[in-house]
């Protein structure tokens, strides 16, 4: 048997390390000032897909949606062992909420043809919603198994999976195709392989080539620019280093269901965190100070 796994990955701002410079004066987040990383749980999803390929045979396709820069995470997938990488990028997809995102991803998965597994990280650290996985499963008409802890076995096109449900665990059997969201417990991501890094570090999507040519030849325009991009693309293609880049048209996605227009949820207001309490009683770190504090807490019945 040969199984085709698609892994949905996302490039995210490193929200765990946000510093003062990352906040704009109006209190919104300045995404451009933030370093980007591979969404951590998506690395675990990739690892599970690679293990499934090693144990049961097949191929692994990495899929992401984002600006051209998101090709970084696709190269990382290739370094770690993915067979194929696809970027969906389109201005009309910007500002998609989770529903619109899952619709676009579903069109991309459909365009890939026959798929047995879709793996996603449980959630991305920029939104923490954990919604795209289940929504993508619904759009594809696949059953979903969330919170994968262990991929146990695969027999007769039936996967046996262990999932963590917070207050315990379950083992379930599910017929393929299936969408699985993955927890970090499911497998320690392998590091990039040095040989593959050498092989794929020059891999590019077309939008990156366009940006490169524009930067190198600011005066180039129109057909000249186009010809140079095509020349470089051809050279990369010959070496298997041209990454696929798809627009909404390529995946036959209806723009009405994408981006801002396709998103039922709207951001009404964003506030940066303002501490609401204006003051506190400062207690000196001395024996007498702390004794006074404890006495006060006893008197107001906070402490028994």
């Amino acid at each position: 048997m040969s199984y085709h796994s698609v892994v949905c990955v996302k490039q995210v701002p490193d929200t765990a390390h946000i510093t003062g410079e990352a906040m704009k004066a109006d209190g919104t987040v300045n995404r451009a000032a933030l370093p980007t990383i591979f969404n951590p749980e998506d690395l675990h999803a990739l690892e599970v897909a690679l293990e499934v390929r090693e144990r049961f045979g097949g191929t692994v396709t990495a899929l992401t949606m984002g600006p051209p820069k998101a090709a970084d995470v696709l190269r990382d997938c290739l370094f770690r062992g993915a067979d194929r990488a696809v970027l969906v990028t389109d201005r009309r997809a910007a500002a998609s909420d989770t529903l619109a995102t899952s619709y676009i991803l579903s069109r991309a998965v459909r365009t890939l043809g026959s798929v047995d597994f879709v793996f996603c990280g449980r959630q991305a650290i920029d939104g923490d919603t954990a919604q795209v996985g289940p929504q993508l499963a619904e759009k594809l008409g696949f059953p979903q198994v969330t919170y994968l802890q262990q991929f146990i076995d695969l027999r007769d096109r039936t996967a046996r999976l262990r999932r963590n449900v917070g207050n315990g665990w379950e083992i379930v059997d599910v017929r393929l195709p299936v969408l699985i969201t993955v927890l970090d417990a499911a497998g320690e991501p392998r590091p990039p392989a040095a040989r593959r890094v050498m092989q794929y570090k020059r891999a590019r999507v077309r939008a990156e080539l366009e940006a490169e040519v524009k930067a190198e030849r600011p005066s180039a325009a129109g057909t000249e620019l186009e010809a140079e991009v095509e020349r470089r693309a051809e050279a990369l293609r010959a070496r298997g280093l041209m990454l696929e880049q798809w627009s909404l048209d390529d995946i036959r996605a209806d723009p009405a269901w994408c981006g801002l227009a396709g998103s039922p949820t709207k951001v009404h207001r964003v506030q940066s965190i303002v501490l609401t309490k204006s003051g506190y009683t400062e207690i000196p770190p001395t024996e007498e100070g702390i004794r006074r504090l404890i006495r006060e807490l006893v008197v107001d019945h906070t402490l028994g």
């Binding site: 990352a22 650290i125 939104g127 059953p143 919170y147 917070g166 315990g168 309490k277």
Partner: protein
């Protein structure tokens, strides 16, 4: 999606397992009651399961006017697709204006599936809900009485208010413990309505082979006092200080994400956006800087004592008492003072 329906009920998904209602179901009933009273509509609770009629009688005193009971032997253990079909079928029949789910592992598995099938919006992990009129300058109109879905976003560095003006119902998952569990009103009247749903064979594609449940070992939500440690505690060995102080006070041990990530203590102790939300009578934060993710999980505590060497630490912004100092010196002094405290 369903059309905007201002007479629609406010609904709650009543999560249950093994014949017991999850606390979140009752918390949501209380909040739904408050929202429905402001909107002048009724509260509905959707209760799928098997042999769960009795649980419906507990939802009514907490605010439900009508419990939609979906019973089928195959619903005994939760499964995404049949539960989603039950919700979708009922939403299309009854057109509620709001549907609330708990942001539990189960609720976060179910709600997005339902939202996708209905093609409506969904906001994850709300920490507050409100109702207000919202101006829409682009369309030169005002949306009356929208649900404001308030949640931390971007790793908790901002608070976003999300609305869903057109594609209804307005759906949200709500964090456990952020809506107060109100006293039940045993005089309240309500009805339990059997709601038949037709399932398809394909809804049962996932077969449960084995299941195991562990009783919660750490009862943070029920604790009257919590002593929590953060990255500033420094090491797993040093975390003993936190255990000792909790032991002296008779409280539970909590932790920030930094302490959990540092391996000082297990994840079941984590308080904050990705852990448990608590509101104890006393919260002692030691070596916790107070990132918003953490504060979101504890700032409702009645009394907060913060110990941190860094005067600028954001935790002091929510503290009632602040001790700027080295926790290695302060905590032993606190333990001593507690042991020698005057008895009321």
């Amino acid at each position: 999606m369903i059309p905007v329906n201002r007479n629609g009920e406010v609904w709650v998904f009543a999560e249950q397992e093994d014949g017991a209602l999850h606390d979140i179901a009752l918390e949501l009933c209380g909040k739904a009651r408050e929202l429905a009273d402001r909107l002048g509509v009724q509260v509905g609770a959707v209760l799928p399961g098997w042999n769960v009629r009795e649980l419906g009688y507990r939802l009514i005193p907490h605010g439900a006017d009508r419990v939609y009971l979906v019973q089928d032997r195959r619903l005994e253990h939760y499964q995404t697709q049949p539960y989603a079909r039950a919700l979708c079928t009922l939403v299309e029949q009854h057109r509620p204006q709001i549907v609330l789910f708990g942001a539990t592992p189960l609720g976060r598995d179910l709600a997005p599936r339902v939202a996708s099938a209905l093609r409506c919006g969904l906001t994850a992990d709300c920490t507050d809900l409100d109702v207000a009129d919202v101006d829409d300058p682009a369309a030169k109109t005002t949306h009356r009485n929208l649900l404001l879905q308030i949640r931390p976003a971007f790793g908790g560095n901002i608070i976003a208010t999300i609305i869903n003006p057109q594609r209804w119902p307005q759906m949200a998952t709500v964090r456990e413990g952020v809506m107060p569990l109100r006293e039940p009103n045993m005089q309240r009247k309500g009805e339990i309505v059997a709601a038949p749903v037709t399932f398809e064979e394909a809804d049962f594609a996932v077969r449960l082979v084995e299941r195991h449940r562990e009783p919660r070992k750490v009862n943070l939500k029920g604790a009257r006092t919590i002593v929590a440690g953060g990255g500033g505690v420094g090491s797993k060995a040093n975390f003993k200080l936190i255990h000792d102080l909790a032991g002296a006070i008779g409280g539970a041990v909590g932790a920030s994400r930094a302490a959990v990530d540092g391996g000082f203590i297990g994840k079941e102790h984590q308080i904050g956006q990705t852990g448990t939300t608590v509101r104890p009578a006393l919260y002692v934060a030691c070596g916790i800087s107070g990132a918003i993710q953490h504060r979101a999980g504890m700032e409702e505590s009645a009394k907060i004592v913060a110990v941190n060497w860094d005067r600028e630490a954001p935790i002091f912004g929510v503290a009632h008492y602040g001790i700027v100092g080295d926790l290695n010196q302060v905590i032993p002094l606190m333990i001593k003072a507690i042991k020698e405290r005057p008895k009321e």
